[in-house]
Symmetry: C2
């Protein structure tokens, strides 16, 4: 029988979990500092919701796990946290707006594992529902940057663009509007598959060489934010103007919010999902690694479900990528156990008499473990050591009588005699 987890999914042993919990606690805390509140939704959604027009779009549906449940209803595992949010907002019309929520849950996509893609992975999303203001877009970017700050990330880059500008570009390049989403999806692959392959893909989609050239001449414009916006404005870019204004505002707010990350307007940024309608953003840690966060404004998605216009914007932190980078950069301490004291006893009789002491330590908030395999003292110390537990309390008959115990510092390899009350004091500090 195959004992490894299914391809693209992973078991997280304690060592890995301790890292994940630490990273997630920091992220969660930062989300709450910015006024976001927790939300969770079910893993399974009806296929109707997942495949709604205006939701994730066909590319993502191709890799969405879906099946008939035992009641013969077609259901699927969610591929993102945004579509479920839209459904929640639509089904709770009395929610006070803006609704600022965070959601840290797994999503599932049947991706190509040979390309290192995961099939179950964690996302940490923040979204602001019910605000048209670019302040909301700036707020989600600022919060994502602050998350990375809290994890001690250095030198990351925030790239922003606007779907309104890209739509205007489509027109400017002489391409039919119906092909926009298709073109965006191709441009989105630029970093992953390179310029030549994207060009080829566009040709296959029936885009003329001339149009492709116009697109590539445009998206390569590279300068400081103000200059980029000025230069594209000169192109007499009627319908993109709103998009340009929006980006200006975002840049202004981010400055006021004292976001110290480097901001870049990247006209080649497209994002793969269909539902974006305005500003789009991605944060990358290093050029070669790809994005560690991404999002954008989707003013029309919630309407699909709610039948009334509710603007929204948000960003998703790629937790897996973030942890990967942090590991590579040795930013995380590795630990096999959170236990603080291991109580080692000389024999079973002493252990029986020590159960009250163990209970006392735990009652005082000290993470305590003890032997459950009737091992000798040496073996117990080895076990504590294999888990990296920092202290061992050694108890024999004499120690029980005197009510004084040996506390061994496993790292420094020194022992000292202490009373129970002293131990409690030491660990409480």
């Amino acid at each position: 029988m195959e004992l490894k987890p299914l391809k693209g999914t992973r078991d997280f042993l304690p060592e890995e979990m301790i890292i994940r919990q630490k990273v997630l606690n920091r992220i969660k805390n930062t989300f709450e500092l910015f006024g976001f509140q927790p939300l969770e939704t079910p893993a399974l959604e009806s296929w109707e919701v997942l495949s709604a027009k205006g939701a994730g779009g066909e590319d993502i549906l191709k890799e969405t796990y879906n099946f008939e449940d035992l009641g013969k209803r077609r259901v699927g595992l969610r591929y993102d946290l945004t579509v479920p949010l839209a459904r929640v907002v639509a089904s709770n019309p009395s929610l006070p707006l803006p609704f600022k929520r965070y959601q840290i849950q797994n999503v599932w996509r049947y991706g190509d594992v040979s390309k290192g893609r995961l099939r179950e992975f964690l996302q940490a999303d923040i979204d602001i529902v019910g605000s048209e203001s670019m302040l909301a877009d700036a707020e989600v970017i600022a919060c994502a940057v602050s998350c990375l700050d809290s994890l001690s990330f250095k030198d990351f880059l925030v790239r922003i663009n606007n779907r309104k500008i890209l739509s205007a570009l489509i027109k400017f390049a002489g391409i039919e509007e119906e092909k926009s989403l298709d073109v965006f999806r191709s441009i989105d692959k630029l970093e992953k598959i390179g310029k030549e392959k994207v060009k080829k893909e566009l040709e296959e989609k029936g885009i003329s060489k001339d149009s492709i050239k116009k697109i590539f001449d445009f998206i390569k414009i590279d300068d400081v934010p103000e200059k980029v916006l000025e230069r594209i404005k000169e192109l007499n870019f009627d319908e993109g103007e709103k998009g340009i204004e929006e980006l200006k505002e975002i840049v202004f707010y981010l400055d006021r919010m004292k976001v110290r990350a480097k901001i870049k307007i990247d006209l080649s940024l497209a994002r793969g999902l269909d539902y974006y309608t305005g500003p789009i953003f991605e944060i990358s840690a290093e050029k070669e690694i790809g994005s560690i966060a991404g999002g954008g404004r989707y003013d029309k998605l919630i309407e699909v479900f709610a039948k009334r216009k509710i603007p929204a914007t948000g960003i998703s932190l790629g937790v897996e990528r973030i942890i990967e980078v942090m590991k590579k950069r040795k930013m995380l301490e590795e630990k096999k156990s959170n236990t603080e004291i291991f109580v080692a006893t000389v024999n079973k009789e002493v252990l029986k008499k020590s159960l009250g002491i163990i209970q006392k330590l735990r009652e005082n908030g000290i993470k305590t473990d003890f032997d459950l395999r009737e091992r000798n003292l040496t073996r117990q110390l080895e076990y504590a050591n294999s888990l990296g537990i920092p202290y061992v309390l050694i108890i024999g008959e004499r120690e029980l009588e005197k009510n004084k115990f040996k506390l061994r510092d496993m790292l420094k390899k020194i022992e000292r005699e202490v009373e129970l009350s002293e131990i409690i004091k030491i660990f409480k500090n």
Copy 2:
């Protein structure tokens, strides 16, 4: 389009999530006090693993979500956290034993929603793998009791029994051994469907009236733990003796560990899953509510995967049931938001100038929100009030100039003038 979540699954809005997070944090912390370390496994497992002989058994497989994935492999959503643990232990032979792990994750079962059953629900499990000692069984019971203590539960009952005793009973009642699991599954339903229906079920399974009488005469024995064990011993109960000894030991250890919950030996306790081999336990909060935690020893499950004998025992907290009881008993404070301060500004210009102040508050660890909809002051206060945010900081042009702001206590409805540094001091305490 149906906007509610699929039947038997739920959306958790912030108000609900804040409660859940609080409960889970307490449980997690208690698990760690007892030396358990975190583990997580994928939602999807291969059908081969889920349906392995000796795993959950046929009753549970009938309600397990399963399908062919996009690669044509039969997979299913996990129905418990124990079978995945067994797989993890088998696939990681170098894990130091005993392996004490906790796992707090959802499980899925396509149950009958008309009977109030959920199809996605959270379990919080602790297990000790690699110890034969009854101390391990006592440890998981003590930890579960301590979790309930930490949540301020009163008057709960720990019921214990032993599959070894039940197996001996089957023999004693003249029933073929092959029918044991079938009989256990029926007895397990006693609380849910009542005595008469269980009797009928047993008859339908081909058990004679005489055997059924013997079973019911036996399982109704009720007394203090010591007396129950004495009385059943008198029945000349050869093969159950080991089971009786085990229960004696557990009762002894729980006393030494100063577990103050009421312990009862309940010979009618059977547990529905196939994999139990020794002591089994359930904790209930009130008689009428059913169990809020349950588990037992399963010394043969891991062998199914690992091909070597690895004893194990564990208990699972029914988080959903626990929260339900806590709500009913009004043990939980309801809150719509974790935000501490809402910054209300008199107009957009002032807001722009206040972004640095907001940033400062957040940098100092104060959970801060502000207006994103360009509302007037009254509306901003209403919004803060609708979310139950306890303080509002009111900022106008004059306040910005003087660097003194109005801090409004929303509950007491009083305001006072404060400087930014004072606010930070107040909230840090």
